[in-house]
Amino acid sequence: MTINIIDIGLGNIRSIEHWLEQSNLSSRRVTSPSSFPEGAIVIPGVSSVGEYMRRLKKSGLDKEILERADKGQKIIGICLGFQILTNYSEEDSGVACLGLLDGCAKYIDGNKTHNGWESCEIDSRNASGYANLPKKNKKIVRGRVYFNHELSVTLDSQCYSKTLDNGIVSFAFRDNIFGFQFHPEKSQQTGREILKLVV
């Protein structure tokens, strides 16, 4: 299976490629809406929403992602990529986003950032009924995951999700849409196990 990585000149794409390679998954960079395979689409993080959405629209990939999500293609958003799956982000004076998950991204209380490692548990058995996860022998991933962000997602729709003690939504899955506020590609062994669980 080939995983598509959105490449509009922003985001830590090389880190995503390494993450996929380490799990023996091939990937290709997608720079335009012209035909690309039906494998999962990864929207990387490490950018700001204003610039990211501007380039996404300019490339026409915003509409392409929506169409493909509608057809059931798996969409994986990481950090900023998760935030733009919602309807709106407060960053850069307010930016309309893709609206694949009902909710929005707001600045963390006190204008703080959230950097560091937190515990995470994803149980694919609990996700069934919410999201389309492949059937695998390994059902649960537990470990430490790496966060680095200053906005946090608030969800208005029912998802399989987990919220940290500080109120930050760690991840949210619904149907074929998968959002991670943390960076699985930089979460060492736990990140590789999450990839195997989801793809």
């Binding site: 830590n12 090389r14 390494h18 700001s48 950097n115 680095n148 962000h149 200053e150």
Partner: protein
């Protein structure tokens, strides 16, 4: 939020990892790819990769950055060293790192720091400030000018709005285990939970930093050589 235990790795112009001692002498630690793989294996919380600007080096570091980009590392990376408005676009075009580290730009090239904020988000911006406390006064290092200077008025307030976190490097103790000079914190008007410390760290210093509510520490070659066990410290 967990206290982070990271590692600092300096890179020379040939792409080797080096260790600096008290900002005076340097020793080659080996091939950068091997060093990064070791640190990845040790599960450090983050790696701070810095190209020391004062060293003679080619103007274009892109070749070395390309080499770094090909090293599969699943630990968060922060990259610093001579980042300016000219090379920022190139560096951030295809990043293999999550954060950028600035030194000279925070003194005299704010456009670059603001541009980096726009491209990568404020959470991705770090300042690295080597310091020394001499005769009860704080002096901080300006890499491009290769000298220690007095702290400009309003410096910490300005820094607070521009960068997410600060790495304070005890220049005198760099490369040793002689102890980090915590006196520096008396001079600094910056939130403690956004400060990482580096240089001279002992186990007790690391425990003290954790108890003080600092964001974390960045250990130099003692992490690489397993003299300080990451798992034990965590």
């Amino acid at each position: 939020m967990s206290f982070r235990i990271g590692a600092t790795v300096l890179i020379d112009h040939t792409g080797n990892a080096i260790q600096s001692y008290s900002f005076k002498t340097r020793r080659i630690l080996g091939c950068i790819s091997k060093v990064l793989k070791f640190l990845d294996g040790y599960k450090v919380d983050e790696i701070h990769l810095i190209v020391p600007l004062k060293q003679n080096r080619p103007a274009d570091m892109s070749e070395i950055f390309l080499k770094l980009a090909d090293i599969p590392v699943s630990t968060p990376l922060a990259l610093g060293g001579g980042i300016n408005v000219t090379n920022l676009a190139q560096i951030s075009k295809d990043p293999f790192f999550e954060r950028l580290i600035f030194n000279s730009a925070i003194y005299d090239d704010l456009d670059t720091v603001q541009r980096a904020n726009l491209i990568m988000g404020r959470q991705s911006i770090l300042a690295c400030i080597p310091f020394s406390v001499r005769n009860g006064e704080l002096i901080i290092y300006h890499a491009r000018e290769d000298c220690f200077k007095e702290v400009p008025r309003g410096f910490w307030e300005k820094l607070d709005s521009m960068v997410n976190e600060v790495i304070l490097v005890d220049a005198y103790s760099e490369g040793s285990k002689t102890g980090f000079d915590f006196e520096v914190l008396k001079f600094i008007n910056f939130p403690h939970d956004r400060i990482l410390i580096s240089g001279g760290l002992t186990k007790n210093d690391i425990y003290r930093a954790r108890n003080m509510g600092l964001a974390g520490v960045s250990i130099d070659n003692f992490a690489l050589h397993s003299e300080l066990s990451i798992g034990f410290l965590r």
